[in-house]
Subunit: 263 residues, 2 copies
């Protein structure tokens, strides 16, 4: 390993032509061989979904690939991309999984809906260090200068220090100029939720049809240890993510649910 | 509230004709008004996915509905079902969300891929007590006698005691006879992962095509505090689930990532 450059697996939820993916690939290409394994179509909001009982098509794009950069598209979800990459497409286990750079926030509870983060969490389940990146700008032509700077610095630090093998980071970057950004801040997930509004209409058969829209409610405004606070105050927010979803305090307090069925 | 029977929202990931859904509806119908809001088609493995920029059709099934039981189908995911139910379909906030009874295990890391649990977690994000149920039997015609007994006991206990408003439980039930089951056991999520195998073939255009299969690896066999141990030893496993995915130990240990970009 000492003489081997790190092999880096890149995915995203927007497919191979997204500007954010290209920015992330430019960041990692100087570091070692890069495999981009990305969905064919947009997978926004697909969370940790996998394709069950459904064939997944894989295509290799030799028109953009080189000896050190390989690009595959997958007719499935970002988590499918990680599973296929690890089990079928890569020559060895990658040293790092990076996902993004997503357009729009994955801070607070958005982490749970995010397919960008679904892919990163799948990396961590497989005990490969993984980082998901998002820029708080929905414009497909957004400026990724600041996001690329932050990503570069963080990726180099993680490759150099390692930390533990199931490290998983959710990184959100405010849409501001590099000169305005204060730095990186390690945070916790802000408590919050979406209030759904739904645009209602009627389809040709007279059925009610809804389009999901909504607005986010921050339940902890002004808490400097949260990711939303960091973003509002000019920092990139780094939230370490846990694969174990047990709520341990409840394991202790719900002991009255330990009951015998036959009594 | 003292004179009002609890309103219960039921969903699942297999749609309105699944035997497990019918078993769960039978359990909750004696307790109060029931709204079933379920996906039109199977949503296995859809995790916490939502429909983004995609219209969702809602249909009311009056042929099976009564004054105290209302059935809707939704052309989206289980999480879409919860969002539509809470914001558009129900006359008031439900007192409980129940999801399932799913066919197959949602124990250990399966929780993360599970759409049954995605719906339950969405309930908890909205601060409504939520329980997802799974029976460890993939047979569509499985015997739900034990699962119904366990569900009934647990639902009554949660309605009576309340616990905290964002309670979320992942309940897995072994496929054994009611006389053989030892009881319920509050556990933590077992550490484990899937080793993917993928059946490979070629499509009409000569592309490589894969079908996801695999086998589960338990990283903690023999640990009596885990859900996999409980299931192997004749218990129904109850894992309390956390909406906050922050890995707090890393928030402390990764402080060296708090860096200033302009230095």
């Amino acid at each position: 390993m000492a003489n081997t450059k790190p092999l880096i697996l890149v995915t995203n939820d927007d497919g191979k032509d997204a500007k954010g993916l290209k920015a992330l690939i430019e960041v990692v290409r100087p570091l070692g061989p890069v495999y981009a394994v990305v969905p064919e179509t947009s997978q926004s909001g697909m969370s940790h979904a996998i394709s069950v009982r459904k064939s997944i098509r894989v295509q290799y794009h030799k028109e953009v690939s080189t000896d050190h950069y390989h690009c595959y598209t997958v007719s499935g979800t970002p988590v499918d991309c990680i599973k296929l990459a690890l089990n079928k497409l890569l020559p060895r286990r990658p040293d790092l999984v990076v996902s993004g750079i997503n357009h729009g926030s994955n801070a607070s509870v958005n982490l749970i809906y995010s397919a960008t983060m679904g892919a990163a969490i799948e990396g961590a389940i497989n005990r490969i260090r993984s980082i998901g990146f998002s820029l708080l700008d929905f414009d497909p032509d957004a400026d990724f200068t600041t996001a690329a700077l932050i990503s570069k610095k963080l990726i180099r630090q993680v490759l150099a220090n390692g930390y533990h093998p199931d490290l998983c980071l959710n990184v959100n970057i405010p849409a501001i100029d590099p000169k305005e950004i204060k730095g990186l801040r390690v945070c916790r997930q802000t408590r919050g939720y979406w209030v759904e509004e739904f645009e209602e209409s009627t389809d040709d058969q007279g059925n009610r049809v809804f389009l999901l829209t909504g607005s986010y409610t921050n339940l902890e405004p002004g808490h400097p240890e949260t990711d939303e606070w960091a973003l509002e105050n000019g920092y990139a927010a780094v939230v370490p993510v846990e694969v174990d979803h047990t709520r341990y305090e409840d394991v202790d307090t719900l002991k009255d649910l330990n009951f015998d069925l036959n009594k």
